[in-house]
């Protein structure tokens, strides 16, 4: 399927949309709007994942990230009633933003040395008839079984923590 003009066009389209959405997300004064632009970025990323032969992860991205995590964010934003008054914007002053931008560009410049890295050739695309979960299951449940189990403890800690912190003050 890959490597046609349409493919490349779509790839750039999703990539640039992700970047533009992210930039808008960072600059929105309204928290709700910002969160929604971030959701947009995540959708674009999901599309990129799928286009890079990681269909399962793409689906998870939509379900978990855009679907679950961001909804919780929005929920908290709404709960704390932060969405509305744009007059008390929590964004920093213009000077601060410009300096931050300069720092960001400097960091980007330092990261651009990555372009000089020689990378090995890409793997062949998976045959179309393979199930999208197959390539993942092997490493996930064999090689990385231990990390997988650790994430369960991690989630347990998060649950306990959320309960402990959110309990009413005694």
């Amino acid at each position: 399927m890959p490597n046609g003009f349409v493919y490349e066009f779509l790839f750039y389209l999703f990539g640039l949309t992700a970047i533009v959405s992210a930039a808008i997300f960072v600059t929105r004064r309204n928290a709700v709007a910002a969160a929604l632009w971030l959701v947009n970025t995540m959708f674009c990323l999901a599309a990129l994942y799928i286009m890079m032969d990681a269909q399962f992860v793409g689906a998870i991205q939509v379900l978990v990230y855009a679907g679950a995590i961001m909804v919780v964010f929005l929920f908290v934003v709404m709960l704390l009633n932060l969405g509305l008054p744009p007059s008390v914007a929590d964004i920093k002053s213009k000077g601060a933003r410009i300096i931050a931008l300069v720092a960001g560009l400097a960091m980007l410049a330092e990261l651009l040395v990555l372009a000089r890295q020689k990378l090995p050739a890409e793997l062949p695309w998976l045959p179309r008839e393979t199930s999208v979960t197959t390539p993942i299951t092997e490493p996930l449940f064999r090689t990385y079984l231990l990390p997988f189990e650790i994430t369960s403890v991690l989630l347990l800690v998060a649950i306990v923590g959320a309960v402990v912190l959110a309990k009413r003050r005694s």
């Binding site: 330092e110 990261l111 040395v113 990555l114 000089r116 890295q117 020689k118 990378l119 090995p120 490493p139 090689t143 990385y144 079984l145 231990l146 990390p147 650790i150 994430t151 403890v153 991690l154 347990l156 800690v157 998060a158 306990v160 923590g161 309960v163 402990v164 912190l165 309990k167 003050r169 005694s170």
Partner: protein, 509 residues
């Protein structure tokens, strides 16, 4: 003689027996904690059981250590370096819980889950010290950090604790981003996250043509530097240490730092010895800056917790010197240092708890004035801790040797780090200014007239403080056995390094 084949899940779990016992035990304790109405008595029971569980885990570790457990190269390490750091972490855990029992009573906190979270955080640290795969490093750090984020804010009545928790969380998550990006880039450059495999790919000859690898190491270093509070990634430390409940502060200062350093040591010794020329400059400056800034800023602190926070930054600087030395002596020095530092720092926080009043009041230097006249033994113990942190011989116990070994490691490096050694000695001379201020306040200033009567020292704090002081003093006079142990705990860390064993085929396929 136990030997584990880590590619078999059953044997892998056996190799992880201490972590398993701790985590599963913690979950059982969680059930007890969550059962029925929460009460003070139940919380205390859970706390006691948590100490017992830690002791059991320590026994298992000692047993596995003594039986000479070995393993095939794999996702975790089974070596004495791991056992040694695990023991230090568990000692810190026990001290934290013991102090927490007292602290909960003083502050009238009822939260049995706290102890469970401490145990789970410790399990995360133990995984971190054993990790031989960058993904394990990442998950270990996250397990530890997320639990500690919560613990910092566990006192729900305190606005300061909530703020400490928020600051630690936001900045911690921020630094996690860099850490993870670093891991990604290293994976991208080498095609593996397994430390030994990376070690084979990272050689001085090819490092220059691998900018992605260099950027990855840099960002990974940033992530570690945040966790160990190296300058300039230290700025959260004083605020968070001040705001967090004191036992948790002690836990952060000792256990979190020990675990992060252990991982840093392992990663640097196993994966990046070939890139020494690349990371040397950055680490050198981190170490130097951390020692200088930490010590100098500590001089003007009046709040004991903040002062100890800057002190912990300074000690991170000393330990970074051992990392820069990048030799076996450095790893041995680390083990010795981290035990001395853990005992001294946690003991000092124990004294802070004993002297403090509900609401975390009376933590100023002036509140220690004349402590000698009302609690002579407490003052004497605190003096030992301060002198240990200062690195004073005999009276400071292990502290002197700790610094001594780091210096030795620095001078024993392939290219002796004379500059860092001199800086270390100079800055520790400087540190006399603030450590002795505490000693002077306790012994040479009168107790202020309106100072509140001290509460009686409760048994857990009593045990923790005096046991720490006695151990410090004992190993300060007879360090021989322990240093031998520390030195012998090192070589296996490199046993699976590129030259010694073939790269494992476990990871990254």
């Amino acid at each position: 003689m136990m030997s584990f084949d880590l590619s078999i899940p059953g044997q892998l779990s056996l190799a992880l027996l201490p972590e398993l016992v701790l985590a599963v035990g913690a979950m059982l304790l969680l059930l007890i904690a969550a059962w029925g109405r929460e009460s003070d008595a139940r919380a205390r029971t859970v706390g006691m059981l948590a100490i017992v569980l830690s002791l059991i885990t320590m026994a298992i570790i000692v047993w596995m250590w003594l039986s000479g457990a070995k393993a095939t190269p794999g996702i975790i390490a089974v070596d004495s370096f791991r056992w040694a750091t695990d023991l230090v972490i568990l000692i810190a855990t026990i001290i934290t819980i013991a102090l927490g029992l007292d602290y909960a009573r003083v502050e009238q906190l009822v939260s049995a889950e706290t102890y469970v979270l401490v145990l789970l955080a410790s399990a995360g640290m133990m995984l971190l010290t054993s990790a031989r795969d960058l993904i394990m490093v990442f998950l270990g750090i996250e397990l530890m950090s997320i639990a500690v984020y919560i613990l910092a804010g566990v006192n729900r009545r305190s606005a300061k604790a909530a703020e400490a928790s928020l600051k630690y969380f936001l900045l911690g998550a921020f630094s996690t981003g860099f850490l993870l990006y670093g891991i990604a880039l290293i994976y991208g450059a080498t095609g593996s996250t397994d430390l030994a495999t990376i070690g084979t790919k990272v050689t001085g000859a090819t490092i220059g043509s691998q900018p992605m690898l260099l950027a990855g190491i840099a960002l990974l270093l940033v992530g570690f530097a945040f966790k160990v509070a190296a300058v300039p990634f230290h700025m959260w430390t004083p605020d968070v240490y001040e705001g967090a409940p004191t036992p948790i502060t002690a836990y952060m200062a000792a256990a979190v730092k020990a675990a992060a350093f252990a991982a840093l040591f392992r990663v640097w010794r196993e994966a990046f010895p070939g890139a020494l020329g690349s990371w040397h400059l950055a680490l050198w400056w981190l170490a130097a800056l951390t020692m200088v800034v930490g010590n100098i800023i500590a001089l003007v602190q009046k709040n004991i917790k903040r002062m100890l926070a800057y002190s912990s930054i300074a000690h991170a600087g000393y330990l970074l010197v051992a990392v820069v030395a990048n030799n076996q002596l450095g790893s041995a020095a680390f083990l010795f240092y981290v035990l001395a530092y853990t005992l001294a720092t946690m003991g000092a926080f124990g004294v802070v708890i004993a002297v403090g009043e509900p609401g975390e009041r009376h933590q100023q230097l002036s509140d220690f004035a004349g402590l000698w006249t009302v609690r002579p033994w407490l003052a004497a113990a605190m003096a030992v801790f301060m002198l240990a942190l200062l690195g004073f011989p005999i009276a400071g116990g292990m502290g002197f040797f700790a610094k001594w070994y780091v210096l030795q490691a620095a001078l024993d490096a392939t290219h002796p780090e004379t500059g860092l050694a001199v800086l270390l000695v100079l800055t520790s001379v400087l540190s006399a200014g603030y450590y002795l201020a505490v000693v002077m306040a306790m012994f040479m200033r009168p107790r202020s007239a309106d100072a509140p009567a001290l509460r009686p020292v409760r048994t857990p704090t009593f045990l923790v403080v005096y046991a720490s002081a006695i151990i410090l003093l004992f190993f300060g006079i007879f360090p021989g056995g322990f240093t031998g142990l520390a030195r012998n705990s090192v070589p296996t860390i490199t046993a699976s390094a590129p030259s010694a064993s073939p790269p494992t085929a476990v990871a990254g396929r």
